[in-house]
Subunit: 303 residues, 2 copies
């Protein structure tokens, strides 16, 4: 019996178990048993805002506290004044085709970590994730991880799979906790990145942030980054939003059993209920035979 205690009997659980058993029975080589998981909204919560946005707002507030001149400039102004509406509107404006404030925000984020070493960044991320509380669920962020997905990661690993995170979130933001929380070591975290540079100092040198975007690991970049990092086409992909469509597409295999999972947030009581940003993915799930995972029906517990 697979260790999927938090999964109710149903289509999703059945699809997972059948896929894993077929993979093992077919003798798919262990090195090809590659599974990729989106993070925000797939392995942990993303509402009311992604954890990393909270992390960034705190950094912007810290900067504005230290430098009053920043308090009149966006995005520091809204962060300092806790005007979270300004950040919420970014996405509306983006959907409406206006990225003016998105660019203002992105410029602030890049400035926020300019010159910071990857080690300092990691210390900050690690401390934040281990101490901050989710704003509405009343529990620490690291306890906002979905228990059924943790069980799935373990079940896959027990069957010779290698799990990767392929997230739109920051790679270096997730790395300090990925092993402990997901059993996924830091070298298997794929995510967005800023441009880095190496500065020698005669004593091992430092890798540090340059105020320049590198890539956003979302949409069609996900298969590109998965290929770049792993060099293989996955047999399992799990996501929850439109940005995961290409990754789920890419995991379609003519030659191997394969499984595409789409987590549906339909549980207002235990988590959140929303489909915004997932409309296209839900249509694709129906059209392409992806397996939809209903949080409400398929999960006996969420956390």
């Amino acid at each position: 019996m697979p260790a999927l205690e938090s999964w109710n009997d149903g289509v999703a659980r059945k699809a997972i178990v059948e896929f894993v058993e077929l993979t093992v029975d077919d003798g798919v080589p262990v090195e090809e048993r590659v599974a990729v998981f989106d993070n925000d909204g797939t392995l942990w919560c993303e509402k009311p805002m992604p954890f990393q946005l909270d992390f960034i707002l705190r950094r912007l507030t810290e900067m504005a506290s230290a430098d009053p001149a920043l308090r009149d400039r966006q995005p520091w102004k809204s962060a300092y004044e806790r005007d979270h509406g300004w950040f919420g509107r970014l996405l509306d404006e983006h959907y409406a085709g206006d990225d003016t404030n998105v660019r203002t925000f992105a410029g602030g984020v890049l400035a926020a970590y300019r010159g910071m070493s990857v080690d300092d960044f990691e210390t900050r991320s690690d401390e934040f994730l281990r101490s901050a509380l989710h704003p509405t669920l009343g529990r620490p962020y690291l306890q906002c991880v979905y228990a059924p997905m943790i069980e799935l990661l373990g079940y896959l690993e027990d069957n010779g799979f290698t799990n990767y995170i392929a997230s739109g979130g920051g790679r270096d933001f997730m790395r300090p906790i990925s092993q402990e929380v997901y059993g996924i070591p830091r070298e298997r975290v794929i995510g967005s990145a800023s441009t880095l540079e190496y500065v020698a100092d005669g004593d091992g040198g430092t890798v540090r942030h340059v105020a320049k975007a590198d890539y956003l690991d979302d949409g069609p970049q996900k298969p590109v980054r998965i290929w770049s990092r792993i060099g293989r086409r996955p047999v399992l992909a799990a996501g929850n939003s439109n940005g995961d469509i290409p990754m789920l597409d890419f995991s379609q295999r003519a030659d191997r059993p394969h499984l595409r999972l789409l987590v549906l947030h339909d549980d207002a009581e235990r988590e959140f209920s929303y489909t915004r940003g997932s409309e296209d993915a839900l249509l694709r799930a129906e059209a392409c035979g992806w397996t939809t995972v209903s949080m409400r029906s398929d999960w006996a517990r969420v956390f």
Copy 2:
């Protein structure tokens, strides 16, 4: 006794064994036993030209054979006419500060793989590496790998290390043979890359080459790429040229036993003898206590 039969007793062998034993005795956690290896000139030959340059010249010749108009344009003209001197001069010109022809060549390389899927590219690379002969050593390319380094990779792996290739050569060029030749799986090959894009087709889609450079994994990019891929500072780095200096620098650790190896090509009889492009690295080896590996004195056999 370590399985380093092709290594003569000497400073280099002693330094390797002492480092590995110290790492194990100190109980350095297995996940931190990360070793990174340059490829061209460190794990396999790079003279009279890198294997991948031969691969590219054949592709340029193939294009010029199919399209006569290309035969009047560089770099196709020199490839088609087998004027290897033109390619040799690129490096001289580069050192003299003139990159005009380097850019012409780079433009040709990007055009040579424009629109090609990573799968097709890999098939070509795989076939080339398994069939082509080294132009002067009279042996297949895949037998131009240094036997002592293969033993070193195995010795490290036997002691809980994880080996990575961190090469200036193309990542996707090396991947099809890395497991078989080095015991290093494709996901642990770090190297230069061109820009890739994902094209959906309703049937799994394709990752393919865009005619745009991404990054050259050389010099200060090496630590950046090592961090990006692994998220750790290595404890062992091996290289042979000036482009490896930052990678070797980056592997200096105050907190862990560490080892930096610099392969010196001083064996005109069995391989090649040259220091060009390694002058600074040799000076740094002396100044920083890196371990120089003399092919002539330290290796009982080369291949």
